[in-house]
Each structure stands twice: as C-alpha cells, then as structure tokens.
Amino acid sequence: MTEECPSSERHGERDSQLSAMFDGELTAAECELLARRLSRDEALRAQWSRFALIGAALRSERGVILHERVAWRVQSAIAQEPSYGDASGAEGTNANTPRVPAQATPGASQSAQSPRWMRFARPAFGAGIAAGVAAVSILWLRTQEGPETMLAAAPASESITLTPEPASITVAQTTTPAVANEPAIGGTGEPERYSTPAPSSQASFAPPAHLANYVVAHSEYSGPLARRMALLGIVSNEVQPEAADAPRSEPAEKKPATGVRGAP
C-alpha cells in the first residue's frame, strides 16, 4: 500500500490539475501540458467527462439525459472530417489554416502561385509561339524548295514580265534544255522572243495539299499577316500554271462584280 503512495500522489496531483483545468483555473503552461496528455489518455478523458456529468447532475438540468451519446456521435462524425493544421502538434504553425485535401482543388497551387495577368496572357503567348513556329516552318520549307520553286512561287504578274533576264535562261537551261534552246537571237544580239520557263513538276518539295493542311491546322494560332503570307504562297504554287496560261482572264472575271455592285 505504501509503495503505491508516490504513484497515487502523482495521480492525485494530475487529477487535481484536471479539475482545475475543467474550471479554467489552471495556468496556461500547465493547461497546455495537460491538454497534450489528455489527447493520448482515454482514462483521463473519461474522468473529464465525469466531471462534466457531475456538474450537469448537480444543476438538475431538466430534460437533459446524462449520457455521452452526443459526444460519441460527434466524435464519430468528426473522425470523417479532415484535421486542421499540423496534426503532429507543431506549436508554431498557423492555427487558422485548415488542411485542404489535395484532390479537392486540382491545379489550385499553380493558379495560386501565378499572378492574375498570367491567366489572360498565357493563351496569347501560346498563339504567338504557334504562329512563329508556323511561319518559320513555312519559310524553311520554301528555302528547301530551291530557287526554282522560289521562281515558281513568285507572283504571276512577275513571271510574265517581258524583261530579258539571262538568269531565267540559265535556269531554263538547267531545268528544261529544250526550252532554253528555243530563243532565236537576231542580228542585233537581242532575243526576238521571250518565254518564261515551264514550271517543273518536281519543283515543289512538299505537296501543296500537305502544306495547305499544315497551314489550316495552325491557322487558329497564327496572326492574320502570317496566315495571309502562307496562304498566298500556297495559292501561288497551285495557280501558277493556270495563271501563266491565262493571265488576262482576271479582269474579265471582275466585270460582273462591278456590275453587281452598281446594280440598284
């Protein structure tokens, strides 16, 4: 019996502290220490409950049933709820910051870190980059096609200029020797007639259809100017043979349009 005295004294002091804490008469430091102990000592919590019960019984609260059912129900309901803050008991943490489940707000951390203006600028940056890539790709494709294609891709009005160009003859010689031998040179040394070299069937490195698909696929990201330039290149590639054959058909086609515009 005497051996149990130190232990019972310790328990007595602890229980006395519990009673004082229940009444709010314990110092803050002692209260904090005892609260830690309470969190892991079910027997102590049960004693806390009985202190509450004694008070309720003494006050004879009419209609109040003296059992722990509310506490148990709340405890089981709260077990399903998320814990707040750092459950490990970090004393210096911000107590008012609840721990939010990660799956509750996917991507929330990214949007929280980036400023508001980034939200609006991001699509513009994306479109700009896509347009730049498209323009570089088209330019690269056109440079890969070689000088013949560059000539073929030139506007139709330039291809029919009646300017003697030795370079064009040289090109014609390399590509179509038969045509290059055609020009008859008169006594003055000037050529009697000029002809543009026939477009080569192998001139285009990439098929126009593929290029068109590429441009269409990227058109939503490219700027109007870049898109226009790319389309112009494609159109000139495709229409050059017809344009060389019938360059004067365009004004004739425009006449009905003017007539329509002038119609009442």
Binding site: F22, G24, A28, R45, E61, I65, V74, I78, G85
Partner: protein, 202 residues
C-alpha cells in the same frame, strides 16, 4: 487563467490538428448545449440531434474562430441558430409527419421519431445518476460541499469562492477536487466500467 482561456487552449489544439481536444470541449459542454436547445424543442432526442449538428458545424467553422469571444458563447450562438433553422424547416414542411403510415418503412421511421424509445430509459438513467451525485454530495464534509456547490451551481471562480470561504485559492482548488473525486468514486462504483455502459443500456 479563466475558463475561456482554458477552452481557448483546447481550441488552438484543435486548430493545430488535435481532434481529441474538440472531443473534450464536446464532453464539457454537451449537456449545457442540449439544455439550451431544449428551450426550442421539447423532444430530448431531437434536442440531442440538434446539439450534435451544432457541434459538427462548430468543428467545421473552427478554423475561423479567432477567440474574440469565449468558445461557449460562440458555441451557444451556433446551437441557437441550428435549433431555429430546425424549427423553420419544420414549419416550411408541415407535412413532414403526415406520411403514409401504410408503408412499413415510413411508419417505423415516424414511430421512432415520435416515441423515441431511447428517451424513457435515458431519463431513468439520468435520474439514477442524479440520485447518486446528490447522495454523494450529502455525504461530503461541509467545506467540500460548499466549495463544489458554489462552483457548479453558482458559477463562482476559485478566487470568489476563496473570498467567500475565507481561505486560500489553493485550498479551494483542493476542496473542489476532493469533492469531485468523492462523487466520481461513487459513480464508478455504480457504473463499473465507466459511463460507457450507459450507451449499452440506452
């Protein structure tokens, strides 16, 4: 340190992730909250349901609790609002109890709500507990009985009790604890295994 500050220690522990600290607050105030709700609803079982809902609401709102008021004052408001909302929803749906009693499931639910078979046994148990506590109080030495009564019934602080009884505050603390310990001993003798048995009985 006041009771408000003592509660605040527990509140801060909850805010740091210690759910058991909230359990202590619930155990401390559950009877007071049920008593408060009973001003709005007559059925003790319904009052317990509302008190439970109020405590869960309080737990969810606890991150916003800054300690500007005492925890119980804050809890008091939540409980009153929950009870009022319950009454309002009952008023909005007066046909809630006007159910088809030919349906066995609905009939059982309504009977459970109206009769609440738990309540008579719970009330009997409550009366038994009160009897034990009162008899234990009567058997206490006069200074212990006075100290515990001034604390629990009159709500005086230790300092006020010390002034009334003309003794040091430490003595008051000791007397109150000894009174509680004596009553607790009687309770544990009757309900051996703790008050967890009450749930099985009910």
């Amino acid at each position: 340190m006041t009771a408000e500050e003592s509660d605040l220690v527990l509140v801060k522990r909850v805010q740091r992730g210690d759910k058991s600290a909230f359990d202590l607050l619930v155990r401390k105030y559950q009877h007071k909250v049920v008593k408060l709700v009973l001003r709005y609803v007559r059925n003790p079982a319904e009052a317990e349901d509302i008190a439970q809902e109020a405590f869960i609401k309080a737990y969810r709102a606890l991150p916003q609790f800054r300690g500007d008021s005492a925890f119980y004052t804050w809890m008091y408001r939540i409980a009153i609002n929950t009870a009022k909302n319950q009454l309002a929803s009952r008023d909005r749906s007066p046909i809630a109890y006007d159910l088809d009693l030919t349906d066995p499931e609905e009939s059982h639910s309504v009977q459970t709500k109206l009769q609440d078979p738990d309540t008579p046994e719970g009330m009997a148990l409550t009366e038994e507990i009160r009897g034990i506590v009162n008899s234990a109080i009567e058997g206490l030495p006069e200074e212990l009985k006075t100290a515990i009564v001034l604390r629990e019934l009159d709500g005086l602080s230790y300092e006020e009790i010390a002034a009334a009884m003309e003794c040091p505050v430490g003595t008051v603390r000791s007397r109150i604890f000894r009174a509680r310990e004596a009553i607790d001993k009687r309770l544990r003798e009757v309900f051996e295994g703790g008050l967890g048995r009450t749930e099985e009985m009910v």
